[in-house]
């Protein structure tokens, strides 16, 4: 594994520093929070299909578990770096704390390229990892979930190995399992619906009735599509949707002044959120350029596709009619653009809460699996609504009281919660 002082960790520490400065946190706490509480490095000998043995290196970082068991992704990647994993674990700590779920942050990786491994070899690798990590993971210690190039199949192999080691059912040890084997209902819908729960609260705060508002959405995958459906349910009208077109290798925006029927549009969309361009035109949509979604005369913008989609160079394209931007994709808005948005008086729901539906649902999965009692889809969404509504108002409250942007407030509230937990436990 490369010892690489990559900027991700430096960037996380910088954000921590800023939050700590605002919170007047003691230097000891500040320093403690900038490091992981535990790091495991393991070496995995794996028997390959040709009967040879190959060594793999893996690591798992527990950034902080003061508020509860650690949780976070585990990736299979050929060139993951230590600091990258540390940064991911730290980010996870803040994400859980922002939405006030009782989990700490962790991340992990196995240095490998799954493209070069057969299915059986991958299975042996996953099981080997769990055996090496041993009791350092578990429903009350560390709950790994899928990340880059890990799928629910990998998670299931790891869960099974853990249960075999313990000689008991303990599928709360992992989240991201197949729905049929302990995964949570509504996992696909949670990020999009969660986004609209926070959007609804923001509109209420701004004293705007959803009915009569219009929105433009970038991305029509799981997040964008479900957000659009829920937004339509609360009375809003989606007039523009942008998405990728694999065949043309470019994105398009689909615009319909009187409003797009989302179910109709979904019926001509593939699993990856790519809308059939010709059939959309048949439905009365104007097919516009890829970035046209940003410059529509709408009340709400929802970037729910990729990172850095609203940046310094295009932020000026946002029309004056826009009152609210909900950051549906992680880091969809660059810090500079977020600043401009704030200056123009546009309300910004940061990704830490607008995009937190997935993390909360992952926590719900762990709770359900650990108690071996599974909720209905409505129950999951109801609980998600409560959690995100509370999180939104808590962040907004700090934002208003401390005159911080919503993004800064989300970071500050998270650091505050973790720092206090550490102090209350008497750690620092």
């Amino acid at each position: 594994m490369i010892a690489d002082a990559f900027e991700a960790l430096a960037s996380e520490r910088e954000q921590l520093e800023r939050a700590c400065a605002l919170l007047d946190v003691s230097p000891a706490v500040r320093e403690f929070l900038s490091y992981a509480v535990r790091e495991f490095k393991v070496t995995l000998p794996v028997r390959m299909d040709d009967d040879s043995i190959r060594l793999f290196h893996a690591c798992r970082v527990h950034h902080n578990d003061a508020r509860g068991p650690c949780a976070g992704g585990i990736r299979l990647h050929p060139q993951a770096t230590n600091d990258r994993i540390r940064a991911l674990a730290m980010r996870m700590t803040w994400q859980c704390a922002t939405v006030d779920i009782p989990l700490g942050g962790a991340a992990g990786c196995v240095v490998c390229d799954p493209h070069d491994l057969s299915r059986r070899e991958q299975e042996r690798l996953c099981r080997g990892l769990v055996r090496r990590l041993g009791t350092n993971i578990g429903p009350r210690r560390d709950v790994p979930s899928p990340d880059i190039m890990t799928s629910s199949q990998h998670i299931m192999w790891m869960t099974d190995e853990y249960e075999a080691m313990r000689s008991e059912h303990a599928n709360g040890v992992m989240s991201g399992k197949p729905v049929t084997l302990g995964g949570s209902a509504s996992r696909r819908e949670a990020p999009g619906f969660g986004l609209v729960f926070t959007l609804r609260e923001a509109l209420r705060l701004l004293d705007i009735k959803p009915t009569g508002t219009t929105a433009s959405i970038q991305g029509f995958g799981a997040v964008g599509q479900n957000a659009a459906k829920m937004y339509q349910q609360i009375g809003g009208t989606v007039v523009c949707v942008a998405c990728w077109n694999q065949f043309d290798q470019m994105a398009y925006s689909f615009y319909k002044k009187e409003g797009i029927d989302i179910d109709e549009l979904a019926s001509i969309t593939n699993y990856f959120g790519e809308i059939d361009k010709d059939r959309a035109a048949d439905l009365g949509c104007e097919v516009l350029a890829d970035d046209a979604w940003l410059s529509q005369d709408v009340d709400i913008l929802i970037p729910a596709a990729f990172e850095t989609q609203i940046a310094e160079e295009n932020v000026s394209g946002i029309r004056d009619s826009v009152k609210l931007v909900a950051e549906g994709a992680t880091a969809a808005i660059t810090p500079g653009a977020a600043e401009t948005i704030g200056e123009r008086g546009i309300f910004h729901i940061p990704d830490a809460i607008a995009n937190a539906g997935g993390i909360v649902c992952s926590y719900f999965e762990q709770v359900q699996s650990d108690s071996n009692y599974y909720w209905s889809a409505d129950e999951v969404l109801g609980k998600l609504d409560v959690k995100l509504t509370e999180a939104f108002h808590a962040v907004q409250h700090i934002s208003e009281r401390r005159k911080l942007s919503m993004r800064e407030a989300a970071q500050v509230i998270a650091v505050d919660r973790v720092a206090r937990a550490c102090q209350e436990r008497g750690w620092v």
Partner: protein, 924 residues
Amino acid sequence: MKSRKNRVETLLLSLQERAKELECFYAVQSVLSTPNITLDEICRKLIEIIPPGWQYPELCTVKVSIGGSVYQSPGFVETPWSLSADILVQNRVVGFISVYYATNPASQYGRPFLDEESRLLNMIAARIGDHLWHGLESRMLSDWTSNMAQVPDDAKCEWQLALNSLRGTNPELYQRITRKMLNYLCWSGVPEAEQLLRSAWPSRASVGESDAPDDWNRPRQRHGIAFTSYLGARVFALASDHMDCPQILQLIQMWIQEDKQSFLVQLINTNVPVSTVADIIRRYHEMSKDPSFVPVQRTRGILIAMIRRFLSEQRAYVDVAKEMMEINDFHFLLDKMIYTNESHGRLGGKSAGLYLANQIVKKKASEYPILADIKTPRTWYVTSDVLFHFVHHCDFDELIEQKYKPIQQVRMEYPCISQAFAAVTFPEDIVRGLSTALDDFGTNPIVVRSSSLLEDSIGAAFSGKYKSLFLANQGSKRHRLEALTDAVAEVYASTFSPDAIEYRADRGLLDYNEEMGIMIQEVVGTKIGKYFLPAFGGVAFGCNEFLWSPRIKREDGLLRMVPGLGTRAVDRLGDDYPVLISPGNPGIRVNVTPSDVYRYSPGMMDVINLDTASFESVDIESFVGEVDGGFELFRDVFSAYRDDTIAAISPLGMDREREKPVATFDRLITRTDFLQRIRTMMNVLEDTLGFPVDIEFASDGTDLYLLQCRPQSPAEVCAPGVIPKYLEPEQIMFTARKHISNGYVPDISHIVYVDPDSYASLPSRGAMIEVGRAISELNKLLPRRRFILMGPGRWGSRGDIKLGVSVDYSDINNTSMLIEIAFQKGQYLPELSFGTHFFQDLVEAHIRYLPLYPDDPKVVFNRVFLRESSNRFAELVPGLAHLEHVIHVIDVPEATGGLLLTVSMNADRGEAVGYVCSPRDKRK
């Protein structure tokens, strides 16, 4: 009233007699058709079964005399009341059969025998004669052999009796055998035989003595051997002095067989039309049904002549085919051939390739039982010269010159030719042939495929140059026949298409006549609802030219598979993907994450819609919903994609609300012997033919079918590049020696080089993302397929972008080549991606991939050229000019004084080189 009653009784009696006669004739037929029956047995049975067929069986006796042997009914007495018929073989009387009444019956007709009885006896005699003509000699020899086994050793020279019998029945054959025996004795060095030959051929001595060089230019006089009874007796007396009886018998047996099969010699004459060949082969086939039939040595030359005439003149082909085929195979082949009366045509490359592959698979099945059930679909062949007959018949003779016209003119005229071909009628004999083929196919869908003679040439695969048309083959016979003739005309028209003519011109094949055979093949598949389709189809390559992991080797091969008709696996579609499998390493799949597996799986499938009688591409998800799982091997071909998980489909069916079908072939690979069968077949074909092959295959859910087999002839970009022997050091830009696939990428005008060190030292992630954006800009600006991308680590890195430039496929889709550079970092050598982030896109777009390891002391990496040549980046992408120290855009002609870059990769040698040289056109 009484007279009416009499008439009825007479009629009844007459009918009874006819019934008896028919019974008798059937009984004779039955006896003559009995396998392995001897002549002795035949005669004994005849005297039993003939009397009941006569009006007065109780008075009837029979006498049969053949070749001196006489058989007669018990209590036989010659009387005046008799009927007799001669038994003729080749118009020579070899015996007779007689019927006698012991007393004169009081016949109501006033005569002892009826006219019908007389005709019956003649028919029986003729039938016996025919039977003797087809098998007399061999049957006799067989009898002799069996009798000889029972004869005591000291009495075994009884063969002379048999020879005497032959002298009586077929004196010409007797003479030929005598001559052969004389020659044989001479060759064996029997001095008396030599003397005998001289006496039978008086001039031989003088010829032998005057065999001087000065006589070489003087024609010899014609002399024949004077055959006498004495000579015959002397020859065989000599034979018995120098050989034992079994040896003589064996020789006689062999010569008789040779003599019987002598008519086959006509087949060597290539001027004999196909129809005559068919007659000769049919006769040989009938003859070979006889259990005593022994194919003789001479048929080997005839077999080779037939292979060369109908299948291929290529020596490599003939060498293999002669070991895998027998003359009789041509009987079945000719039976399925459609030709005109004067046709001299052949089958064409595609047909010949498939036919030989099928023969190899059948023959090798005894050694590799796993091949036993591999089939080929029912196929009919239209011979290659029918195209010319068709052109002539339609008065389009001037089209022969079409290929020499300017290509623009060819392009303009092609639609008219196509239309004109569709409007004309076929010669009558071809329509008749096609009609017979349709009767054979019934209403099974068929595909009309071109089978060009030029396809025979290695390196000219003609893939996609000529048409292959699927026909639903539904409706009335007339309608089906019209559709078939239209399809054949359309395939013929494609011979004159600009694409085909350009392709032939490029390969120097323009001056060769393009004779186009046609293969009409039953489509493999089953009916599912209104559709007809195979469970899956695909193409397999002996060599994998697209290695997606360093663990995969070229010789592991490659499968491209799709559900439904294999057309989508054969062609590269751009908007859809076949499933790629390495048969030698099936565990290493191109796509790993469930979402990638789903995205890069086939979205559409080709089927035949029987309702609309059309070839259609249908959406797989809709299709699965429509047919409701009624798909053979459904669970073997498809998996279920649900919640970002790929799992086996439940035996109870799919949950269509939550699950999507995704073609993975997982169960087919892991739970059946399919992969082993394909791999064994590919290995056997490669070992036997001596070169890697590509095959097309399909399965109807029950059986695996081989549809096509030809030498693997990669597209130019995937062909093994020639590594030039002599290159000046300054010509070489880079070399490589690890994980090389085949490829030849000439005439590169621009190199985009992302310097690994400068990239690694970029200050922020944002700057690295900008590099990706800059590459995307260059991808739009630089000439398509004339530039290459060289960069550090993993192109398209999705995680830590420090390890490779973060791009999507759309950012690099115009490049001709993607090069990943792995510089050693301390003790660590970075793993390269092998293009895995968009591997299937690269494959479908023919974009080549090459990994470079510049720290290897045995390779060249001209970093000075790449870093210090004039950099046009800032000029092309002024908005990102600050990245100029990272991204170098080198205009190769400008930097080298007019040269271009060529990258040549040769997997066989495990070498690749990028060098500058003159443009390809100038070199020509």
